[in-house]
């Protein structure tokens, strides 16, 4: 029997799941603008989700100052990677139950 409460509520939301997926897809951190254009989210929406994920310790950010405007890069923390893998595992279990 699958315990649906095992699904991480922070990740189990389409916007945050999309952010976690993109961050998990590459080793390098993602600039805010790249995340925004890939996910087609507004600045406000994206920043709110990123703050929620950061509050849970899943996402870390780094501000990079350069010649142009400073850019904030986002990446998964180790806890975020573990949580994402755990979430995927539970999803797969749920789907197996449905077959």
């Amino acid at each position: 029997m699958i315990d649906f409460s095992k699904l991480d509520k922070v990740i189990h939301e389409k916007g945050r799941l999309s952010i976690m997926t993109l961050l998990a897809s590459r080793k390098d951190a993602w600039p805010f603008q790249d995340l925004k254009s890939e996910l087609q989210m507004s600045d406000g929406n994206l920043i709110t989700h990123l703050r929620t994920l950061a509050k849970s310790g899943y996402v870390e950010s780094e501000k990079i100052e350069g010649e142009g405007r400073p850019q904030t890069h986002y990446g998964l923390t180790e806890a975020g990677r573990v949580a994402f893998e755990g979430y995927l595992k539970v999803l797969e279990e749920i789907l197996d139950l449905g077959r």
Binding site: K14, S18, P31, E38, I64, G66, L91, I94
Partner: protein, 235 residues
């Protein structure tokens, strides 16, 4: 929506985003450099050999057959392929990832069909009759350009530019080879032909597989060094 349906929906989101986020550079800058220089050296050697043969004289080499010319370029392709594989193996060991990474598999699925068709079409064209090597070179360039463009979904912008440049150069080369007094091009007429189609073939190969790759390699090397500079910012 049941929990199963929602789980399936979420997995679909994850899969499509993962695919979209995959960026795979089918040609690294060291491979482009290596292949470009090899193509320039080989095309120059074959060009001057042909030029000497046309000039005649007691010590002049004989004219090269289309078959021998194809073998020379296939050897160059294999050497470049081995060089690229060594780089991929080294990178996968360094990053502790698989040799056949998902990116490599997706790139191969896109690259192989047009390259296979182009390779066979070009060879068939060249071996069908004498004096057709230039047409073969143009077909190879066009199909290689198409192959690179087939990776467009996972390729960085520089590969798209290389693909388009090669495709357009291949089309121009093919029109040049095809047009003669009997087949003038609309608005352009026909061009002055070189002394031998083999000279034209080597020029096309040297320019497209040599110079284009060298320029691409230089640009990508500059971009990757810029990206490593933390002050420069983005990926």
């Amino acid at each position: 929506m049941t929990e199963q349906e929602r789980a399936a929906e979420n997995l679909k989101v994850i899969r499509s985003l993962m695919e979209r986020a995959t960026v795979y550079r089918a040609i690294s800058w060291p491979t482009a450099f290596f292949g470009g220089i090899l193509a320039i050296i080989l095309s120059s050697l074959l060009y001057f050999r042909e030029d000497l043969a046309i000039g005649g004289g007691a010590d002049a080499p004989s004219l090269m057959s289309e078959g021998a010319w194809i073998v020379c370029w296939l050897v160059a392709l294999v050497i470049t392929g081995v060089f690229n594989s060594v780089l991929i193996v080294r990178k996968s060991k360094r990053d502790n990832t698989l040799f056949f990474s998902p990116g490599l598999k997706m790139a191969l699925r896109a690259l192989v069909p047009p390259m296979l068709v182009g390779g066979i079409l070009g060879m068939g064209h060249a071996l069908s009759s004498a004096g057709t090597a230039a047409g073969c070179a143009a077909i190879w360039v066009m199909c290689y350009g198409l192959a690179l463009l087939a990776t467009i979904g996972i390729a960085p912008r520089s590969i798209r530019w290389l693909g388009w440049s090669l495709l357009l150069a291949g089309v121009a080369a093919y029109l040049y080879v095809w047009s003669d007094g009997a087949h003038p091009l609309p608005f352009l007429g026909s061009f002055d032909e070189m002394e031998s189609p083999m000279l034209e073939a080597n020029l096309i190969m040297g320019l497209c597989f040599g110079v284009f790759h060298l320029i691409y390699g230089l640009i990508v090397m500059w971009l990757s060094r810029k990206a490593k500079d933390p002050r420069a910012g983005t990926r």
